[in-house]
């Protein structure tokens, strides 16, 4: 009963604000302009009574003061009233939180997108703080899985605040930001890795799978901030799972050559016919492992064997590609091992090492060419790589031969020097005997 009364009073309050706003000829943006303007840097003077009062309230009402330290909005001088409206110059709570002064308090989840969007969707306003800032987040959010569910009345879905935080919001490239690339999987995982929260509406193993992927290794271990995380494939504000037909587009954003080769290959039409998501069939989605030549193996670890039975043309192509790659890899290892020996012996092998690197490029290129599913294309590249690997091997062999020559030369030189030493010594003896 009490809750109902409270709910009714809030509705009445909102209605009053609306009537007041219409009556005084305000638009919503006027409200925002008025609240923000009062808090702009250099314009706000005197005591901020929002902070003064809430600091002493503790718990939920006091925590925003502490959390807001370092908040990008506070740093830009927007203050509490920048989002919540009201008048921070008033020591009296009622006057400070007067709805007639635009005070909105804490927004309902359904109102959050427009609450943030009142500034973030306004290009003219955002330009004053960051001309490069996008202003389509609210529209994108509306098209997302989260947005559509929110409109349908699901209050559990993520809104702006769930990903960015409410107070203490940092710019995206700030390491403490919840949406800083290395933190994104954890932020998404707060809901998507929680079976209780998700209640079987979606799988909850994505974050665990991603953590073991080559993408996570690049981002989290090698600190490569260009490596993909959840939002790079699913979108951020417009987050939704890519459909079967668009998976190749998503992967192809970065892996352009592979995507192009695949589309020209025999598998493209075959996968379409089977309604099979292109890249995922061999590489999986979240658990994208480091590609390995074993993927072309006959049985163990093979991804081809899932469809090709070992007798068909596809199996023959697989065997030829695997053989070509193995051949180049073995030649390359042989050359690398020899050059390493020569280098450890102190020989100058920079050119041989350069040739090895070139041959290694061929191996990488040949592995990419696997996406053409043409054994001839792969073999042409591995043959080129083998020629270079053999050349580098010969250079390594020459370096070791040179090393032997140097050692023999050193031995001969030392013998000559020793003979000269003995001769000089005997000469000294002879001279000094004669002198005595």
């Amino acid at each position: 009963m009490a809750n109902n009364r409270f709910g009714l009073s809030r509705i009445a309050l909102r209605f009053a604000v609306l009537v007041y706003a219409l009556a005084s000829g305000w638009t919503f943006s006027h409200l925002r302009e008025a609240t923000v303007h009062a808090a702009e840097p250099g314009t706000s003077k005197g005591v901020d009574y929002c902070v003064e009062c809430h600091r002493d309230l503790g718990d939920n009402l006091g925590s925003p003061v502490v959390e807001s330290e370092g908040d990008v909005h506070i740093q830009k001088g927007l203050g509490c009233v920048g989002c919540h409206g009201g008048d921070s110059s008033q020591p009296d709570a009622e006057r400070a939180m007067d709805p007639r002064k635009g005070f909105t308090g804490r927004p309902e989840p359904s109102a959050v997108p427009s609450f943030c969007g009142k500034c973030h969707s306004d290009a003219g306003f955002m330009r004053r703080y960051n001309p490069a800032q996008r202003v389509d987040q609210e529209a994108e959010y509306a098209s997302s899985g989260h947005g559509t569910r929110l409109r349908a009345g699901n209050k559990k879905v993520a809104t702006c605040l769930n990903c960015h935080g409410s107070h203490g919001i940092h710019p995206v490239n700030h390491p403490q930001s919840r949406v800083y690339a290395p933190n994104v999987a954890k932020t998404c995982g707060k809901c998507h890795a929680d079976p209780k929260y998700m209640q079987s509406t979606l799988p909850t193993n994505q974050v665990d799978e991603y953590a073991n992927s080559v993408h996570a290794e690049a981002l989290l271990v090698k600190n490569d901030l260009s490596a993909p995380t959840c939002n790079d494939c699913h979108g951020n504000h417009g987050a939704s799972p890519p459909g079967v037909s668009s998976v190749a587009n998503v992967c192809g954003t970065c892996h352009t050559r592979q995507a192009e080769m695949f589309r020209k290959s025999v598998h493209d039409s075959a996968f379409r016919a089977m309604d099979q998501a292109e890249c995922l069939a061999c590489h999986a989605n979240h658990r994208v492992l480091r590609p390995d030549d074993a993927m072309l193996a006959e049985k163990e670890g093979s991804v081809c064997a899932a469809c090709h039975d070992g007798e068909d043309k596809g199996s023959q192509t697989r065997a030829e590609m695997a053989s070509a790659l193995t051949g180049l890899r073995d030649r390359l290892q042989r050359a690398e091992s020899l050059i390493d020996r020569a280098e450890k012996a102190g020989m100058q092998v920079s050119r041989a090492s350069f040739a090895v690197a070139e041959s290694h490029d061929s191996l990488v290129n040949a592995r990419v060419l696997v996406h053409t599913f043409s054994a001839a294309a792969v073999k042409a590249e591995t043959d080129r790589g083998m020629t270079i690997a053999d050349k580098s091997y010969r250079m390594g062999q020459d370096a070791l031969d040179e090393l032997q020559f140097r050692r023999k030369g050193l031995g001969a030189s030392l013998v000559v020097i020793l003979v000269a030493l003995v001769a000089v010594y005997l000469k000294i003896q002879q001279i000094e005997r004669h002198e005595q």
Partner: protein, 371 residues
């Protein structure tokens, strides 16, 4: 008139002898070798328990000669520009016949020369051989040390590899702390605000033209002074029986034995541990880990590193630079400051000071290698 006739007689006698005595006499008559031969025949070396240290000067000179010869050979292929320096040294190491040997010997010999120079200098110091009348021999010797260090500093950059590039950047930054002239001196060394191809060209000029020219003059004076005054006998040996060895051929043959050993050592080092080339310098790359100057600058580098940012109101690095400059001046003027040695009396204070300096250099160099 009589004197003129004697000179004419003498000059006529020379060629006459050459005709009867072969090429040696022929040259002797025309080039005036007689005075040199007389000097060599008269020159002796004192014999006592410290005589072994006399060989170090000759050893340093031998290694310097190797530097000159190998340096000239390297000049045939080396190209002093940021675009080509590294590649030209790489070419020398891989494609030029025995280029690897020449470059490795040049690098190893440079380091051995600095080492023998230091030992030579400290033995001269501890034997008080700088005392009257050899003050100028000491001064020219210390100047040769400074010139050799300048050779080392300028030559280090020439292969244009990463380690040398960044070490030179650090090294040329040091003079900047000197008030007034520091900025100018740094720009003079670098040929601009940063270490660039202009620095390389400039260092090449120092290394192959200016320093060799100055060194030739100073070395000439140093060697002439050694011949003029002869070898110094240590103070302790002054009262003992004077034993001597003829310079030619006895001492020189022993010198040659030492040079042969040095040659064998150089050949072994060059063949077994060829001097590394490293990676080509990339001015835009981050500085690699473990930047350090050559070992003979390590004690001063480590001192500057360990000094606090400020000592009282003076910048620590500035204090370090001023301290090393004052130390170098003191070292140069030692013969004039050690009055006791000048009077032929023992000067234990200078001996203790020398020991402390050697210990300090050894400890700081050790810390530099270990850190």
């Amino acid at each position: 008139m009589k004197a003129t006739e004697e000179r004419q007689e003498g000059s006529v006698q020379g060629p006459g002898q050459a005709e009867s005595g072969g090429v040696g006499d022929w040259l002797r008559g025309r080039l005036g070798f007689a005075s040199v031969e007389a000097l060599v025949a008269k020159k002796t070396v004192p014999l006592h328990r410290h005589s072994i240290w006399y060989y170090l000067g000759g050893m340093t000179l031998f290694l310097f000669t190797i530097q000159v010869v190998t340096g000239i050979l390297l000049l045939l292929y080396y190209r002093p520009s940021a675009e080509e320096a590294f590649e030209s040294v790489q070419f020398i190491m891989t494609d030029v016949s025995f280029g690897w040997l020449v470059r490795s010997i040049h690098s190893w010999s440079a380091n051995l020369m600095i080492a023998t120079l230091f030992v030579h200098m400290f033995t001269v110091y501890f034997l008080k051989a700088y005392r009257k009348p050899r003050e100028c021999t000491w001064v020219t010797g210390v100047l040769l040390l400074f010139l050799s260090l300048a050779f080392g500093f300028s030559g280090y950059l020439l292969p244009w590899n990463s380690l040398a590039f960044f070490a030179t950047r650090v090294g040329t930054e040091i003079p900047r702390v000197i008030p007034g002239v520091g900025e100018f001196f740094m720009r003079f060394l670098r040929g601009g605000d940063e270490v660039t191809g202009a620095t390389l060209t400039r260092f090449f000029g120092f290394h192959v033209a200016i320093l060799p020219a100055v060194t030739t003059v100073v070395l000439g004076i140093h060697i002439w002074l050694v011949q003029f005054h002869g070898m110094s006998r240590p103070l302790r040996e002054e009262g003992t029986e004077r034993r001597e060895m003829k310079f030619f051929p006895n001492f020189l043959l022993r010198d040659i034995m030492g040079w042969l050993v040095a040659l064998a050592l150089l050949a072994a080092l060059a063949a077994l541990f060829p001097w590394e080339l490293g990676e080509k310098a990339d001015p835009f790359a981050p500085a690699p880990a473990g930047i350090r100057p050559e070992w003979f600058f390590l004690f001063s580098f480590e001192t500057l590193k360990l000094l606090p940012a400020h000592i009282l109101f003076i910048e620590g690095e500035l204090l370090g630079v001023v301290g090393f400059t004052a130390g170098a001046m003191f070292w140069l003027l030692v013969p004039f400051l050690d009055r006791k040695a000048a009077r032929g009396e023992p000067s234990p204070a200078f001996t203790v000071l020398g020991i402390l300096i050697v210990l300090y250099m050894a400890v700081m160099t050790g810390i530099g290698f270990l850190s």
